[in-house]
């Protein structure tokens, strides 16, 4: 009988040797005459344990990690593929009877995972991302079927009622956006998925596209039905080649299954989807710049209004949602808006997918209902810094998010509380820095990044970022007597960029700059 073994095909797992593990496993099993079926699943999001190998047993999946290719023979010797070996409590044992040092027990019992509420990520790492049957067996397509069974307007209202807000960063209610597009008069409408996940510290979109691509397709098909669109695009950044391949493969499969095409699931509804790949421009994650890029041009930010919901791609009404927003829609439709709405706090409903990154002992994905504090994430899940040194700063919400000091770890991670503290949730990235971090260098980098990635349309951002780097350099190496004046100038520049920029890139770059300055150990105004 064949044993099923899961070796993640997620690009994160591959970056630390999962392919080599899969090759070694196949070879060692063949040498021993054991029949294995290797599934390249997504990642469970426990990246410090990647490559995380799981063996299917009658007791559920049993995990081992982090597994290197050189560990594979010893693991097989310990009996991970034997019916009784992997079925042992806690996993396979070494010759001396001790549980193997890489054995993690049943995956579902790993506390880090068991304490989460995985809704959007329910299937990521669990299913075979290439298998439509596996997708359906794990509840896939139920949301689309439910949607097709009701009038489009009811689908829109269900999403409104769920309280789902855009997970890309701005947090705009998804259903309200859909309603605008649905009510717009046009013979042609589009649904676009923004998968230009450029924020450092974020990787949830990538993981979902690689680990559970059909969910995104299903969510987009539901959106298309709800608003009356017949064509969709997934705009994926070029830095994510595995996600591009995964989505293209899944779209082909979905067409074969009748989940896309001219007669979706026999309903007569028509919707098709294409992947478009970016070319290394951070600004294309801004929705109007993404539209320009989708139209094949420079990714330049457009002034709003008109909203893309009224005049978007090729001037037509367009739904633009983030990967996680669209991937959450099937659950909302399948389980009901109330079930989703019951999760969370205040006006932050449902779950949030946090991404723990940077200098952390345990990096990865934490999806829970809103209401967690930053401390629970950084000290709890992430286990503090990887270096073991004290935390100096945590950047929440990507390169445009503020640096929060260790004293602010008790902030609750929801849209409103973070906004009140001058920070933002963004796409849910949490990047931790220890006390060796040079905050002035981080402030300079924020300006440098903005200068490199600005689309150039508006002057405060295009010129302001360049001037910002220069002013910070003068603060650092200029005459100490002029420092106070330069700091005042930088403050002034930050204010101008915040108030005068066309989009969030220029307007939010001052967030990391100002907050990093406040964390700089030396007093800026005082002569050194």
């Amino acid at each position: 009988m064949s044993v099923t073994v899961y070796v993640p095909g997620d690009s994160g797992a591959r970056a630390v040797g999962a392919d080599e593990v899969a090759v070694a496993l196949a070879a060692e099993a063949a040498a021993r005459g054991i029949d294995v079926a290797i599934v390249r699943n997504g990642s469970r999001g426990l990246y410090w344990l990647e490559p995380l190998v799981e063996v299917a047993t009658p007791r559920g999946r049993v995990a081992y990690g982090p597994v290197a290719a050189r560990d594979v023979a010893a693991l097989l010797d310990a009996g991970i593929l034997d019916a009784d070996g992997a079925a042992l409590d806690g996993g396979a044992r070494d010759v001396d009877g001790a549980v193997h040092e890489l054995a993690l027990g049943r995956t579902d019992d790993i506390d880090w995972l068991a304490s989460q509420q995985r809704v959007t990520f329910a299937r990521v790492g669990v299913v075979d991302p290439r298998s439509p049957d596996d997708y359906e067996a794990h509840g896939g397509i139920a949301g689309l079927l439910a949607a097709l069974g009701m009038p489009p307007a009811e689908v829109v209202e269900a999403v409104v009622a769920s309280g789902l807000r855009g997970r890309g960063g701005a947090g705009f209610p998804t259903g309200v956006k859909w309603r605008t597009v649905a009510e717009a008069e046009s013979s042609v409408k589009f649904v676009c998925c923004n998968a230009d996940e450029g924020d450092s510290g974020t990787f949830a979109d990538r993981m979902l596209m690689e680990g559970d691509p059909f969910t995104l397709i299903e969510g987009m098909a539901i959106a298309a039905y709800a608003v009356g669109a017949s064509q969709g695009f997934v705009y994926i950044r070029s830095e994510y080649p595995d996600a591009v391949a995964s989505m293209r493969r899944a779209i082909t499969t979905a067409r074969e299954r009748g989940w896309l095409g001219t007669d979706i699931l026999g309903s007569g509804v028509s919707f098709d989807l294409d992947v478009r790949v970016g070319a290394g421009a951070y600004i294309c994650g801004e929705e109007t710049a993404m539209l320009d890029s989708l139209e094949g041009r420079r990714g330049m930010v457009r002034p709003k209004p008109p909203l893309p919901a009224i005049a978007g791609l090729f001037g037509r009404p367009t739904v633009i949602n983030n990967v996680l927003s669209l991937a959450t829609v099937p659950t909302v439709l399948a389980s009901g808006a109330e079930a989703y709405q019951e999760l969370g706090v205040g006006r932050s409903r449902g779950t949030q997918v946090f991404q723990l990154a940077g200098n952390v002992a345990r990096g990865g994905i934490v999806e829970t209902a809103f209401g967690l504090t930053l401390r629970e994430l950084v000290e709890g899940y992430a286990g503090g810094t990887r270096s073991g040194r004290p935390v100096r700063a945590v950047q929440v919400g990507g390169p445009l998010g503020a640096y929060l000091p260790a004293e602010q770890l008790d902030l609750r991670m929801d849209y409103e509380e973070l906004a009140a503290a001058g920070a933002m949730l963004g796409h849910g990235g949490v990047v931790v820095f220890d006390d060796t971090a040079d905050m002035m260098a981080q402030a300079r980098f924020a300006m440098e990044f903005c200068a490199a990635e600005s689309c150039g349309k508006c002057t405060p951002c295009r010129v302001g970022a360049v001037r910002g780097v220069e002013v910070i350099d003068r603060i650092l190496v200029g005459p100490p007597g002029e420092r106070a004046g330069q700091v005042a100038l930088l403050e002034d520049l930050c204010e101008l960029m915040t108030d005068g920029s066309l989009c969030a890139m220029g307007a939010l770059t001052p967030n990391p700059v100002r907050s990093a300055l406040s964390l700089w150990p030396q007093s800026l105004g005082a002569p050194s």
Partner: protein, 152 residues
């Protein structure tokens, strides 16, 4: 291995890739895929095929950092400069890579063996620092592992 650039070969790629809506960027990416870079001579070809000005094409070519106008080195190496990588020694790795090859980001070694680039985030932020070597992403990269992977 990339095809060698010629106007004739370029024209074939342009003819094949012009059918999509919003064709300019996909077409330029197709040219780069085929030849490893977008030859300046392709700009007029593309402008003519799409009935846009050469300035429009030039504008797109120079806007996107992925698009090159000179052939890349035999090997390509990109170091992530995102904040997550910076938090665990990414800046030292950036310096190490530049020193190793003796070139800055966006440059190719004099012998044409390596092109070194910067990249802003590979989505491997829980496995930082990260690099891409010949299209293959690697996480938890130390200076020693970097040297091992790039050889020499």
């Amino acid at each position: 291995m990339s095809t060698e650039w010629s106007i004739e070969a370029g024209a074939r790629v342009v003819a094949d890739a012009s059918g999509v809506p919003g064709p300019l960027l996909p077409l330029l990416l197709a040219l780069q895929e085929e030849f490893g870079y977008v030859d300046p001579a392709a700009i007029q070809l593309v402008a003519k095929a799409l009935n846009v000005s050469r300035a429009d094409v030039h504008g797109v070519v120079t806007f996107y950092s992925d698009l090159r106008t000179t052939p890349p080195g035999a090997r390509t190496v990109a170091v992530c400069r995102g904040e997550a990588c910076q938090s665990v020694g990414g800046r030292a790795l950036e310096a190490h890579a530049q020193e190793r090859f003796g070139v800055g980001f966006g440059e190719t070694t004099a012998d044409g063996s390596v092109t070194l680039d910067q990249v802003f985030c590979l989505g491997l932020c829980a496995l930082s620092p990260a690099v891409v070597v010949d299209g293959r992403a690697l996480g938890r990269v130390t200076a020693a592992r970097f040297d091992e992977v790039v050889g020499v």
